[in-house]
Symmetry: C2
Subunit: 312 residues, 2 copies
Protein backbone atom coordinates (compact mmCIF):
# COMPACT_ATOMS: atom_id res chain seq x y z
CA UNK A 1 0.00 0.00 0.00
CA UNK A 2 1.36 3.42 -0.93
CA UNK A 3 2.17 5.74 1.91
CA UNK A 4 -0.37 8.56 2.13
CA UNK A 5 0.70 12.09 1.22
CA UNK A 6 1.22 14.31 4.24
CA UNK A 7 1.78 18.00 4.81
CA UNK A 8 3.35 20.11 7.49
CA UNK A 9 1.76 23.35 8.56
CA UNK A 10 3.49 25.83 10.81
CA UNK A 11 2.53 29.05 12.47
CA UNK A 12 5.22 31.42 13.60
CA UNK A 13 3.99 34.05 16.01
CA UNK A 14 6.30 36.22 18.09
CA UNK A 15 8.04 33.91 20.53
CA UNK A 16 6.18 30.73 19.56
CA UNK A 17 6.17 28.15 16.80
CA UNK A 18 3.13 25.93 16.35
CA UNK A 19 3.66 23.01 13.99
CA UNK A 20 1.38 20.23 12.85
CA UNK A 21 1.49 17.14 10.72
CA UNK A 22 -1.61 17.18 8.55
CA UNK A 23 -3.09 14.66 6.18
CA UNK A 24 -4.47 15.38 2.74
CA UNK A 25 -7.99 15.88 4.17
CA UNK A 26 -6.79 18.62 6.52
CA UNK A 27 -6.90 16.48 9.67
CA UNK A 28 -4.24 17.22 12.28
CA UNK A 29 -2.30 14.04 13.08
CA UNK A 30 0.18 15.55 15.48
CA UNK A 31 0.94 18.96 17.03
CA UNK A 32 4.12 20.57 18.30
CA UNK A 33 4.60 23.82 20.15
CA UNK A 34 7.95 25.40 20.98
CA UNK A 35 9.56 28.66 21.92
CA UNK A 36 11.42 30.09 18.94
CA UNK A 37 13.78 32.95 18.27
CA UNK A 38 14.15 34.67 14.90
CA UNK A 39 17.88 33.95 14.79
CA UNK A 40 17.62 30.19 15.11
CA UNK A 41 14.21 29.75 13.51
CA UNK A 42 15.37 28.24 10.22
CA UNK A 43 17.20 25.42 12.04
CA UNK A 44 14.32 24.93 14.48
CA UNK A 45 11.82 24.72 11.64
CA UNK A 46 13.99 22.15 9.83
CA UNK A 47 14.38 20.03 12.97
CA UNK A 48 10.66 20.16 13.75
CA UNK A 49 9.77 19.29 10.16
CA UNK A 50 12.17 16.33 10.22
CA UNK A 51 10.70 15.05 13.49
CA UNK A 52 7.12 15.36 12.30
CA UNK A 53 8.06 13.77 8.97
CA UNK A 54 9.64 10.77 10.65
CA UNK A 55 6.19 9.57 11.78
CA UNK A 56 5.63 7.84 8.45
CA UNK A 57 4.10 8.94 5.17
CA UNK A 58 5.64 11.19 2.56
CA UNK A 59 5.65 14.84 3.46
CA UNK A 60 5.13 16.74 0.24
CA UNK A 61 5.21 20.38 1.34
CA UNK A 62 5.53 22.85 4.19
CA UNK A 63 3.10 25.74 4.65
CA UNK A 64 4.40 28.50 6.88
CA UNK A 65 2.01 31.12 8.25
CA UNK A 66 3.45 34.34 9.67
CA UNK A 67 2.15 37.69 10.86
CA UNK A 68 3.06 40.25 8.22
CA UNK A 69 2.77 41.03 4.55
CA UNK A 70 4.15 38.54 2.04
CA UNK A 71 4.75 39.56 -1.56
CA UNK A 72 3.14 36.81 -3.65
CA UNK A 73 5.29 37.50 -6.70
CA UNK A 74 8.65 37.28 -4.98
CA UNK A 75 7.86 35.23 -1.80
CA UNK A 76 9.62 37.97 0.17
CA UNK A 77 8.22 38.88 3.59
CA UNK A 78 7.82 42.65 3.29
CA UNK A 79 6.67 43.61 6.76
CA UNK A 80 6.53 41.56 9.93
CA UNK A 81 6.55 42.87 13.49
CA UNK A 82 8.40 39.77 14.69
CA UNK A 83 11.12 39.34 12.07
CA UNK A 84 14.24 41.44 11.40
CA UNK A 85 14.83 42.58 7.81
CA UNK A 86 17.70 40.21 6.97
CA UNK A 87 15.71 37.16 8.02
CA UNK A 88 12.56 38.29 6.23
CA UNK A 89 14.19 38.69 2.83
CA UNK A 90 15.75 35.25 2.59
CA UNK A 91 13.27 33.26 4.63
CA UNK A 92 11.70 31.40 1.71
CA UNK A 93 15.04 30.36 0.24
CA UNK A 94 16.52 29.33 3.59
CA UNK A 95 13.48 27.33 4.69
CA UNK A 96 13.43 25.53 1.33
CA UNK A 97 17.12 24.66 1.60
CA UNK A 98 17.01 23.67 5.26
CA UNK A 99 13.93 21.44 5.01
CA UNK A 100 14.32 20.06 1.49
CA UNK A 101 10.57 20.61 1.10
CA UNK A 102 8.50 22.78 -1.19
CA UNK A 103 7.71 25.78 1.02
CA UNK A 104 4.85 28.27 0.89
CA UNK A 105 5.06 31.29 3.16
CA UNK A 106 1.75 33.00 3.68
CA UNK A 107 0.26 35.74 5.80
CA UNK A 108 -1.31 34.11 8.88
CA UNK A 109 -4.82 35.43 8.23
CA UNK A 110 -4.68 34.28 4.60
CA UNK A 111 -3.63 30.83 5.79
CA UNK A 112 -6.37 30.65 8.43
CA UNK A 113 -8.98 31.81 5.90
CA UNK A 114 -7.94 29.09 3.50
CA UNK A 115 -8.10 26.49 6.28
CA UNK A 116 -11.64 27.51 7.27
CA UNK A 117 -12.60 27.60 3.59
CA UNK A 118 -11.29 24.12 2.83
CA UNK A 119 -12.15 22.16 5.97
CA UNK A 120 -13.84 24.52 8.45
CA UNK A 121 -16.72 26.99 8.71
CA UNK A 122 -16.39 28.04 5.07
CA UNK A 123 -16.72 24.65 3.45
CA UNK A 124 -19.14 24.85 0.54
CA UNK A 125 -19.09 28.65 0.32
CA UNK A 126 -17.56 30.51 -2.61
CA UNK A 127 -17.04 34.03 -1.33
CA UNK A 128 -15.67 34.52 2.16
CA UNK A 129 -14.20 37.28 4.23
CA UNK A 130 -12.15 36.01 7.16
CA UNK A 131 -11.21 38.11 10.18
CA UNK A 132 -8.60 36.99 12.67
CA UNK A 133 -8.89 38.91 15.93
CA UNK A 134 -6.03 38.27 18.29
CA UNK A 135 -2.90 40.24 19.15
CA UNK A 136 -3.54 42.09 15.92
CA UNK A 137 -6.48 42.03 13.55
CA UNK A 138 -5.87 40.44 10.19
CA UNK A 139 -8.17 39.46 7.39
CA UNK A 140 -8.36 37.61 4.12
CA UNK A 141 -10.64 37.38 1.12
CA UNK A 142 -11.71 34.29 -0.78
CA UNK A 143 -13.52 35.04 -4.03
CA UNK A 144 -14.95 32.45 -6.37
CA UNK A 145 -13.23 29.77 -4.30
CA UNK A 146 -9.74 31.28 -4.49
CA UNK A 147 -7.67 33.27 -2.04
CA UNK A 148 -7.74 36.80 -3.42
CA UNK A 149 -4.57 38.42 -2.15
CA UNK A 150 -4.58 41.59 -4.23
CA UNK A 151 -2.03 43.14 -6.53
CA UNK A 152 1.00 42.27 -4.42
CA UNK A 153 -0.37 39.80 -1.87
CA UNK A 154 -1.41 42.20 0.90
CA UNK A 155 -5.21 42.25 0.60
CA UNK A 156 -7.48 41.78 3.60
CA UNK A 157 -5.92 44.10 6.19
CA UNK A 158 -9.24 44.82 7.88
CA UNK A 159 -7.51 45.63 11.17
CA UNK A 160 -6.22 48.79 9.54
CA UNK A 161 -9.38 50.28 8.16
CA UNK A 162 -10.11 53.57 9.89
CA UNK A 163 -13.24 53.46 12.04
CA UNK A 164 -12.50 56.68 13.92
CA UNK A 165 -10.74 59.51 12.08
CA UNK A 166 -9.83 61.12 15.42
CA UNK A 167 -8.88 57.84 17.06
CA UNK A 168 -5.70 56.56 18.70
CA UNK A 169 -2.34 56.09 17.07
CA UNK A 170 -1.93 52.57 15.66
CA UNK A 171 1.33 50.60 15.33
CA UNK A 172 0.86 50.85 11.55
CA UNK A 173 1.23 54.64 11.61
CA UNK A 174 -2.42 55.41 10.98
CA UNK A 175 -4.84 56.64 13.65
CA UNK A 176 -8.23 55.18 14.57
CA UNK A 177 -7.68 51.73 13.05
CA UNK A 178 -10.10 48.99 14.07
CA UNK A 179 -7.10 47.23 15.64
CA UNK A 180 -6.56 50.10 18.11
CA UNK A 181 -9.80 49.24 19.92
CA UNK A 182 -10.62 45.60 19.17
CA UNK A 183 -7.40 43.53 19.31
CA UNK A 184 -6.54 41.53 22.44
CA UNK A 185 -3.99 44.09 23.75
CA UNK A 186 -6.45 46.94 23.15
CA UNK A 187 -9.14 45.13 25.16
CA UNK A 188 -6.67 45.01 28.06
CA UNK A 189 -5.72 48.66 27.57
CA UNK A 190 -9.33 49.84 27.48
CA UNK A 191 -10.20 47.75 30.54
CA UNK A 192 -7.21 49.09 32.48
CA UNK A 193 -8.07 52.69 31.59
CA UNK A 194 -11.61 52.17 32.72
CA UNK A 195 -10.69 50.39 35.96
CA UNK A 196 -8.28 53.20 36.68
CA UNK A 197 -10.74 56.03 36.30
CA UNK A 198 -14.09 54.54 37.26
CA UNK A 199 -14.84 53.63 40.87
CA UNK A 200 -17.95 51.56 39.95
CA UNK A 201 -15.74 49.15 38.05
CA UNK A 202 -13.87 48.40 41.29
CA UNK A 203 -16.50 45.73 41.85
CA UNK A 204 -15.01 43.81 38.92
CA UNK A 205 -12.78 40.88 39.80
CA UNK A 206 -10.45 42.04 37.02
CA UNK A 207 -9.26 44.76 39.39
CA UNK A 208 -7.81 42.06 41.67
CA UNK A 209 -5.34 40.96 39.02
CA UNK A 210 -2.91 43.61 37.86
CA UNK A 211 -1.56 41.61 34.95
CA UNK A 212 -4.79 40.41 33.39
CA UNK A 213 -5.00 39.44 29.72
CA UNK A 214 -7.77 39.55 27.14
CA UNK A 215 -8.36 35.87 27.90
CA UNK A 216 -8.94 36.82 31.54
CA UNK A 217 -11.47 39.45 30.50
CA UNK A 218 -13.32 36.81 28.45
CA UNK A 219 -13.12 34.35 31.33
CA UNK A 220 -14.55 36.82 33.85
CA UNK A 221 -17.28 37.77 31.37
CA UNK A 222 -18.27 34.11 31.12
CA UNK A 223 -18.38 34.00 34.93
CA UNK A 224 -20.88 36.86 34.86
CA UNK A 225 -18.65 39.80 35.83
CA UNK A 226 -20.63 42.84 34.60
CA UNK A 227 -17.62 44.99 33.85
CA UNK A 228 -15.87 42.25 31.89
CA UNK A 229 -19.12 41.58 30.02
CA UNK A 230 -19.38 45.23 29.08
CA UNK A 231 -15.79 45.26 27.81
CA UNK A 232 -16.44 42.20 25.63
CA UNK A 233 -19.70 43.65 24.32
CA UNK A 234 -18.05 46.96 23.40
CA UNK A 235 -15.28 45.09 21.66
CA UNK A 236 -17.96 43.21 19.73
CA UNK A 237 -19.51 46.50 18.71
CA UNK A 238 -16.21 47.76 17.34
CA UNK A 239 -15.65 44.54 15.43
CA UNK A 240 -19.25 44.73 14.17
CA UNK A 241 -18.50 48.20 12.81
CA UNK A 242 -15.65 46.76 10.76
CA UNK A 243 -17.79 43.82 9.71
CA UNK A 244 -20.50 46.22 8.47
CA UNK A 245 -17.96 48.09 6.33
CA UNK A 246 -16.82 44.79 4.82
CA UNK A 247 -20.44 43.80 4.14
CA UNK A 248 -21.18 47.11 2.40
CA UNK A 249 -17.96 47.03 0.41
CA UNK A 250 -17.92 43.39 -0.65
CA UNK A 251 -21.51 42.08 -0.40
CA UNK A 252 -19.88 38.85 0.65
CA UNK A 253 -21.61 35.51 1.21
CA UNK A 254 -19.98 34.65 4.51
CA UNK A 255 -17.86 36.35 7.15
CA UNK A 256 -15.88 33.97 9.35
CA UNK A 257 -14.42 35.26 12.62
CA UNK A 258 -11.44 33.57 14.22
CA UNK A 259 -8.48 34.30 16.46
CA UNK A 260 -8.10 34.26 20.24
CA UNK A 261 -10.58 37.06 20.94
CA UNK A 262 -13.35 34.86 19.47
CA UNK A 263 -12.77 32.36 22.30
CA UNK A 264 -15.35 34.47 24.18
CA UNK A 265 -17.92 32.68 22.00
CA UNK A 266 -21.46 34.00 21.78
CA UNK A 267 -20.65 36.74 24.31
CA UNK A 268 -18.72 38.48 21.55
CA UNK A 269 -20.36 37.01 18.43
CA UNK A 270 -23.82 38.32 19.35
CA UNK A 271 -22.83 41.99 19.74
CA UNK A 272 -20.77 41.72 16.54
CA UNK A 273 -23.82 40.52 14.59
CA UNK A 274 -26.07 43.08 16.27
CA UNK A 275 -23.79 46.01 15.42
CA UNK A 276 -23.24 44.78 11.85
CA UNK A 277 -27.04 44.56 11.41
CA UNK A 278 -27.44 48.10 12.74
CA UNK A 279 -24.74 49.57 10.49
CA UNK A 280 -24.85 47.63 7.20
CA UNK A 281 -27.30 48.08 4.33
CA UNK A 282 -30.16 45.73 5.13
CA UNK A 283 -30.13 43.79 1.81
CA UNK A 284 -26.32 43.42 2.07
CA UNK A 285 -26.57 42.28 5.69
CA UNK A 286 -29.27 39.76 4.81
CA UNK A 287 -27.10 38.28 2.07
CA UNK A 288 -24.27 37.62 4.56
CA UNK A 289 -23.79 34.90 7.14
CA UNK A 290 -21.60 35.92 10.09
CA UNK A 291 -20.16 32.89 11.88
CA UNK A 292 -17.31 31.84 14.15
CA UNK A 293 -14.53 29.71 12.71
CA UNK A 294 -14.53 26.04 13.63
CA UNK A 295 -10.80 25.22 13.44
CA UNK A 296 -9.77 27.20 16.50
CA UNK A 297 -6.00 27.33 17.06
CA UNK A 298 -5.40 24.89 14.20
CA UNK A 299 -6.71 27.29 11.54
CA UNK A 300 -3.33 28.72 10.51
CA UNK A 301 -1.32 25.47 10.49
CA UNK A 302 -4.07 23.59 8.63
CA UNK A 303 -4.63 26.44 6.17
CA UNK A 304 -0.92 26.93 5.50
CA UNK A 305 -0.60 23.21 4.80
CA UNK A 306 -3.62 23.22 2.46
CA UNK A 307 -2.20 26.26 0.64
CA UNK A 308 1.13 24.50 0.22
CA UNK A 309 -0.70 21.45 -1.12
CA UNK A 310 -2.80 23.43 -3.60
CA UNK A 311 0.03 25.67 -4.81
CA UNK A 312 1.76 22.65 -6.35
Amino acid sequence: MAKSSLLIGMHFSGPKLLAALINDSGEVLERREAAISPNTMVQQVATTARELGSRGGDVSALGFGIPGLVNRQTDVVIVSPDLPTGIRENLHKELTEATGLRVEIENDANAAAYGEFKVGAGRGSHNIFYMMIGNGIGGAIILDGKLWTGTSGFAGEVGHITIDTEGMQCVCGNTGCLETVASAPSIVRRARERLHRDSTSSLSRLGLNKDFTADDVAHEAKEGDDFALMMIERTGKYIGTGVASVINLLNIEKIILGGGVMDAGSLILNPIIQEARRRAFQPCFEATQIVAGTLGRDAITVGAAMLARDAA
Copy 2:
Protein backbone atom coordinates in the same frame (compact mmCIF):
# COMPACT_ATOMS: atom_id res chain seq x y z
CA MET B 1 -21.33 48.41 -46.15
CA ALA B 2 -22.95 47.00 -43.02
CA LYS B 3 -24.37 49.49 -40.59
CA SER B 4 -22.21 49.71 -37.48
CA SER B 5 -23.54 48.35 -34.21
CA LEU B 6 -24.63 51.08 -31.80
CA LEU B 7 -25.60 51.21 -28.15
CA ILE B 8 -27.66 53.49 -26.00
CA GLY B 9 -26.54 54.40 -22.51
CA MET B 10 -28.74 56.21 -20.05
CA HIS B 11 -28.28 57.62 -16.60
CA PHE B 12 -31.31 58.25 -14.44
CA SER B 13 -30.61 60.47 -11.48
CA GLY B 14 -33.32 62.10 -9.41
CA PRO B 15 -35.08 64.58 -11.67
CA LYS B 16 -32.83 64.13 -14.71
CA LEU B 17 -32.26 61.65 -17.50
CA LEU B 18 -28.98 61.72 -19.40
CA ALA B 19 -28.95 59.63 -22.55
CA ALA B 20 -26.29 59.00 -25.17
CA LEU B 21 -25.86 57.18 -28.44
CA ILE B 22 -22.58 55.32 -28.23
CA ASN B 23 -20.59 53.37 -30.77
CA ASP B 24 -18.94 50.03 -30.22
CA SER B 25 -15.68 51.72 -29.19
CA GLY B 26 -17.38 53.66 -26.42
CA GLU B 27 -17.39 57.00 -28.24
CA VAL B 28 -20.35 59.26 -27.57
CA LEU B 29 -22.04 60.18 -30.88
CA GLU B 30 -24.90 62.17 -29.42
CA ARG B 31 -26.15 63.29 -25.98
CA ARG B 32 -29.60 64.08 -24.64
CA GLU B 33 -30.62 65.55 -21.30
CA ALA B 34 -34.18 65.90 -20.07
CA ALA B 35 -36.21 66.35 -16.92
CA ILE B 36 -37.86 63.10 -15.98
CA SER B 37 -40.44 61.90 -13.47
CA PRO B 38 -40.60 58.35 -12.12
CA ASN B 39 -44.22 57.97 -13.25
CA THR B 40 -43.61 58.70 -16.92
CA MET B 41 -40.02 57.48 -17.12
CA VAL B 42 -40.68 54.27 -19.05
CA GLN B 43 -42.39 56.18 -21.87
CA GLN B 44 -39.73 58.92 -21.82
CA VAL B 45 -36.94 56.36 -22.00
CA ALA B 46 -38.64 54.64 -24.94
CA THR B 47 -39.14 57.92 -26.81
CA THR B 48 -35.55 59.02 -26.19
CA ALA B 49 -34.20 55.64 -27.28
CA ARG B 50 -36.27 55.77 -30.47
CA GLU B 51 -35.05 59.28 -31.30
CA LEU B 52 -31.40 58.40 -30.70
CA GLY B 53 -31.81 55.17 -32.67
CA SER B 54 -33.24 56.98 -35.66
CA ARG B 55 -29.84 58.54 -36.37
CA GLY B 56 -28.74 55.46 -38.31
CA GLY B 57 -26.99 52.25 -37.34
CA ASP B 58 -28.48 49.31 -35.52
CA VAL B 59 -28.98 49.84 -31.82
CA SER B 60 -28.33 46.49 -30.16
CA ALA B 61 -28.87 47.21 -26.48
CA LEU B 62 -29.75 49.76 -23.81
CA GLY B 63 -27.70 50.16 -20.64
CA PHE B 64 -29.50 51.97 -17.83
CA GLY B 65 -27.55 53.30 -14.86
CA ILE B 66 -29.45 54.23 -11.71
CA PRO B 67 -28.62 55.19 -8.14
CA GLY B 68 -29.48 52.24 -5.93
CA LEU B 69 -28.91 48.55 -5.46
CA VAL B 70 -29.75 46.18 -8.32
CA ASN B 71 -30.08 42.46 -7.69
CA ARG B 72 -27.99 40.83 -10.42
CA GLN B 73 -29.85 37.53 -10.26
CA THR B 74 -33.35 38.94 -10.70
CA ASP B 75 -32.70 42.37 -12.34
CA VAL B 76 -34.92 43.86 -9.64
CA VAL B 77 -34.00 47.29 -8.29
CA ILE B 78 -33.94 46.66 -4.52
CA VAL B 79 -33.27 50.11 -3.15
CA SER B 80 -33.26 53.47 -4.90
CA PRO B 81 -33.79 56.85 -3.27
CA ASP B 82 -35.43 58.18 -6.44
CA LEU B 83 -37.79 55.37 -7.41
CA PRO B 84 -41.03 54.21 -5.74
CA THR B 85 -41.34 50.47 -5.00
CA GLY B 86 -43.87 49.64 -7.73
CA ILE B 87 -41.70 51.16 -10.44
CA ARG B 88 -38.52 49.58 -9.13
CA GLU B 89 -39.78 46.01 -9.21
CA ASN B 90 -40.97 45.97 -12.82
CA LEU B 91 -38.53 48.42 -14.33
CA HIS B 92 -36.49 45.87 -16.26
CA LYS B 93 -39.52 44.18 -17.80
CA GLU B 94 -41.22 47.47 -18.67
CA LEU B 95 -38.12 49.06 -20.21
CA THR B 96 -37.55 45.93 -22.28
CA GLU B 97 -41.14 45.93 -23.57
CA ALA B 98 -41.30 49.67 -24.19
CA THR B 99 -38.00 49.93 -26.07
CA GLY B 100 -37.87 46.55 -27.81
CA LEU B 101 -34.17 46.46 -26.86
CA ARG B 102 -32.12 44.16 -24.69
CA VAL B 103 -31.86 46.12 -21.43
CA GLU B 104 -29.28 46.01 -18.66
CA ILE B 105 -30.03 47.93 -15.48
CA GLU B 106 -26.99 48.60 -13.37
CA ASN B 107 -26.01 50.56 -10.30
CA ASP B 108 -24.63 53.92 -11.47
CA ALA B 109 -21.21 53.48 -9.83
CA ASN B 110 -20.85 49.99 -11.30
CA ALA B 111 -21.67 51.41 -14.74
CA ALA B 112 -19.22 54.31 -14.39
CA ALA B 113 -16.49 51.95 -13.17
CA TYR B 114 -16.99 49.74 -16.20
CA GLY B 115 -16.86 52.76 -18.50
CA GLU B 116 -13.58 53.98 -17.01
CA PHE B 117 -12.23 50.43 -17.14
CA LYS B 118 -13.10 49.90 -20.81
CA VAL B 119 -12.39 53.28 -22.37
CA GLY B 120 -11.22 55.65 -19.61
CA ALA B 121 -8.64 55.95 -16.83
CA GLY B 122 -8.70 52.21 -16.14
CA ARG B 123 -7.85 50.99 -19.62
CA GLY B 124 -5.17 48.32 -19.41
CA SER B 125 -5.57 47.72 -15.67
CA HIS B 126 -6.96 44.47 -14.25
CA ASN B 127 -7.98 45.35 -10.71
CA ILE B 128 -9.75 48.62 -10.07
CA PHE B 129 -11.71 50.25 -7.32
CA TYR B 130 -13.92 53.07 -8.55
CA MET B 131 -15.39 55.78 -6.30
CA MET B 132 -18.13 58.09 -7.48
CA ILE B 133 -18.39 61.15 -5.26
CA GLY B 134 -21.42 63.27 -6.00
CA ASN B 135 -24.80 63.61 -4.32
CA GLY B 136 -24.01 60.29 -2.71
CA ILE B 137 -20.83 58.26 -2.66
CA GLY B 138 -20.91 55.02 -4.60
CA GLY B 139 -18.24 52.58 -5.55
CA ALA B 140 -17.50 49.55 -7.65
CA ILE B 141 -14.91 46.83 -7.89
CA ILE B 142 -13.33 45.35 -11.00
CA LEU B 143 -11.25 42.23 -10.35
CA ASP B 144 -9.33 40.31 -12.96
CA GLY B 145 -10.99 42.46 -15.61
CA LYS B 146 -14.57 41.79 -14.52
CA LEU B 147 -17.09 43.80 -12.56
CA TRP B 148 -17.21 42.09 -9.18
CA THR B 149 -20.65 42.87 -7.82
CA GLY B 150 -20.74 40.50 -4.88
CA THR B 151 -23.17 37.82 -3.81
CA SER B 152 -26.31 39.70 -4.81
CA GLY B 153 -25.00 42.60 -6.89
CA PHE B 154 -24.49 45.20 -4.16
CA ALA B 155 -20.71 45.27 -3.71
CA GLY B 156 -18.74 48.53 -3.67
CA GLU B 157 -20.79 50.69 -1.31
CA VAL B 158 -17.78 52.62 -0.08
CA GLY B 159 -19.92 55.63 0.83
CA HIS B 160 -21.33 53.58 3.67
CA ILE B 161 -18.22 52.38 5.38
CA THR B 162 -18.01 53.84 8.87
CA ILE B 163 -15.14 56.28 9.28
CA ASP B 164 -16.40 57.75 12.57
CA THR B 165 -18.23 55.47 15.01
CA GLU B 166 -19.64 58.52 16.80
CA GLY B 167 -20.46 60.38 13.59
CA MET B 168 -23.65 61.82 12.11
CA GLN B 169 -26.75 59.91 11.14
CA CYS B 170 -26.63 58.83 7.48
CA VAL B 171 -29.61 58.38 5.14
CA CYS B 172 -28.76 54.64 5.11
CA GLY B 173 -29.52 54.31 8.82
CA ASN B 174 -25.90 53.96 9.94
CA THR B 175 -23.93 56.74 11.66
CA GLY B 176 -20.56 58.13 10.67
CA CYS B 177 -20.57 56.90 7.06
CA LEU B 178 -18.02 58.43 4.69
CA GLU B 179 -20.99 59.85 2.76
CA THR B 180 -22.08 61.97 5.76
CA VAL B 181 -18.97 64.15 5.42
CA ALA B 182 -17.71 63.87 1.84
CA SER B 183 -20.69 63.88 -0.55
CA ALA B 184 -21.68 67.10 -2.34
CA PRO B 185 -24.60 67.87 0.03
CA SER B 186 -22.41 67.25 3.06
CA ILE B 187 -19.78 69.69 1.75
CA VAL B 188 -22.52 72.32 1.60
CA ARG B 189 -23.78 71.39 5.06
CA ARG B 190 -20.32 71.54 6.62
CA ALA B 191 -19.58 74.86 4.91
CA ARG B 192 -22.90 76.34 6.09
CA GLU B 193 -22.31 75.21 9.67
CA ARG B 194 -18.88 76.73 9.64
CA LEU B 195 -19.97 80.01 8.06
CA HIS B 196 -22.72 80.22 10.65
CA ARG B 197 -20.51 79.78 13.69
CA ASP B 198 -17.18 81.23 12.66
CA SER B 199 -16.75 84.96 12.13
CA THR B 200 -13.37 84.58 10.39
CA SER B 201 -15.08 82.70 7.58
CA SER B 202 -17.20 85.79 6.92
CA LEU B 203 -14.40 86.88 4.58
CA SER B 204 -15.35 84.01 2.28
CA ARG B 205 -17.35 84.93 -0.80
CA LEU B 206 -19.47 81.85 -0.16
CA GLY B 207 -21.21 83.80 2.60
CA LEU B 208 -22.62 86.19 -0.01
CA ASN B 209 -24.66 83.42 -1.61
CA LYS B 210 -27.21 81.78 0.64
CA ASP B 211 -28.00 78.93 -1.74
CA PHE B 212 -24.51 77.86 -2.70
CA THR B 213 -23.79 74.34 -3.95
CA ALA B 214 -20.77 72.06 -3.75
CA ASP B 215 -19.91 73.24 -7.28
CA ASP B 216 -19.83 76.81 -5.96
CA VAL B 217 -17.46 75.76 -3.17
CA ALA B 218 -15.15 74.16 -5.75
CA HIS B 219 -15.42 77.26 -7.97
CA GLU B 220 -14.53 79.66 -5.14
CA ALA B 221 -11.67 77.37 -4.12
CA LYS B 222 -10.28 77.57 -7.65
CA GLU B 223 -10.58 81.36 -7.42
CA GLY B 224 -8.40 81.28 -4.31
CA ASP B 225 -11.01 81.73 -1.56
CA ASP B 226 -9.23 80.42 1.57
CA PHE B 227 -12.34 79.16 3.30
CA ALA B 228 -13.59 77.30 0.21
CA LEU B 229 -10.10 75.84 -0.25
CA MET B 230 -10.10 74.58 3.31
CA MET B 231 -13.52 72.96 2.82
CA ILE B 232 -12.32 71.16 -0.32
CA GLU B 233 -9.10 70.05 1.37
CA ARG B 234 -10.96 68.66 4.38
CA THR B 235 -13.32 66.83 2.06
CA GLY B 236 -10.28 65.39 0.33
CA LYS B 237 -8.96 64.20 3.68
CA TYR B 238 -12.20 62.38 4.44
CA ILE B 239 -12.22 60.76 1.02
CA GLY B 240 -8.55 59.86 1.48
CA THR B 241 -9.48 58.10 4.72
CA GLY B 242 -11.94 55.92 2.81
CA VAL B 243 -9.41 55.38 0.03
CA ALA B 244 -6.83 54.19 2.60
CA SER B 245 -9.30 51.63 3.98
CA VAL B 246 -9.94 50.36 0.46
CA ILE B 247 -6.18 50.14 -0.18
CA ASN B 248 -5.59 48.16 3.02
CA LEU B 249 -8.56 45.87 2.41
CA LEU B 250 -8.11 45.19 -1.29
CA ASN B 251 -4.45 45.92 -2.17
CA ILE B 252 -5.86 47.11 -5.46
CA GLU B 253 -3.88 48.17 -8.52
CA LYS B 254 -5.75 51.37 -9.27
CA ILE B 255 -8.31 53.60 -7.58
CA ILE B 256 -10.26 55.82 -9.94
CA LEU B 257 -12.20 58.77 -8.55
CA GLY B 258 -15.14 60.22 -10.42
CA GLY B 259 -18.38 62.10 -9.82
CA GLY B 260 -19.19 65.80 -9.55
CA VAL B 261 -17.07 66.46 -6.46
CA MET B 262 -13.96 65.50 -8.46
CA ASP B 263 -14.57 68.49 -10.76
CA ALA B 264 -12.44 70.39 -8.22
CA GLY B 265 -9.49 68.66 -9.89
CA SER B 266 -6.09 68.66 -8.21
CA LEU B 267 -7.45 70.83 -5.38
CA ILE B 268 -9.22 67.74 -4.10
CA LEU B 269 -7.13 64.96 -5.66
CA ASN B 270 -3.94 66.08 -3.89
CA PRO B 271 -5.33 66.00 -0.33
CA ILE B 272 -6.99 62.64 -1.12
CA ILE B 273 -3.65 61.14 -2.13
CA GLN B 274 -1.86 62.78 0.79
CA GLU B 275 -4.32 61.41 3.37
CA ALA B 276 -4.35 57.95 1.77
CA ARG B 277 -0.53 57.91 1.93
CA ARG B 278 -0.63 58.93 5.58
CA ARG B 279 -3.20 56.27 6.56
CA ALA B 280 -2.54 53.23 4.36
CA PHE B 281 0.17 50.59 4.81
CA GLN B 282 3.14 51.89 2.87
CA PRO B 283 3.66 48.80 0.65
CA CYS B 284 -0.10 48.70 -0.10
CA PHE B 285 -0.13 52.43 -0.88
CA GLU B 286 2.90 52.08 -3.15
CA ALA B 287 1.19 49.30 -5.11
CA THR B 288 -1.81 51.55 -5.85
CA GLN B 289 -2.30 54.32 -8.37
CA ILE B 290 -4.88 56.93 -7.33
CA VAL B 291 -6.20 58.84 -10.33
CA ALA B 292 -9.15 60.93 -11.47
CA GLY B 293 -11.53 59.43 -14.02
CA THR B 294 -11.25 60.70 -17.58
CA LEU B 295 -14.82 60.22 -18.82
CA GLY B 296 -16.38 62.97 -16.69
CA ARG B 297 -20.16 63.14 -16.95
CA ASP B 298 -20.21 60.50 -19.69
CA ALA B 299 -18.87 57.75 -17.39
CA ILE B 300 -22.26 56.27 -16.45
CA THR B 301 -23.91 56.38 -19.88
CA VAL B 302 -20.81 55.00 -21.61
CA GLY B 303 -20.27 52.33 -18.95
CA ALA B 304 -23.92 51.25 -18.92
CA ALA B 305 -23.79 50.91 -22.72
CA MET B 306 -20.55 48.87 -22.58
CA LEU B 307 -22.06 46.63 -19.90
CA ALA B 308 -25.15 46.07 -22.04
CA ARG B 309 -22.90 45.22 -24.98
CA ASP B 310 -20.74 42.78 -23.02
CA ALA B 311 -23.63 41.09 -21.22
CA ALA B 312 -24.90 39.72 -24.55
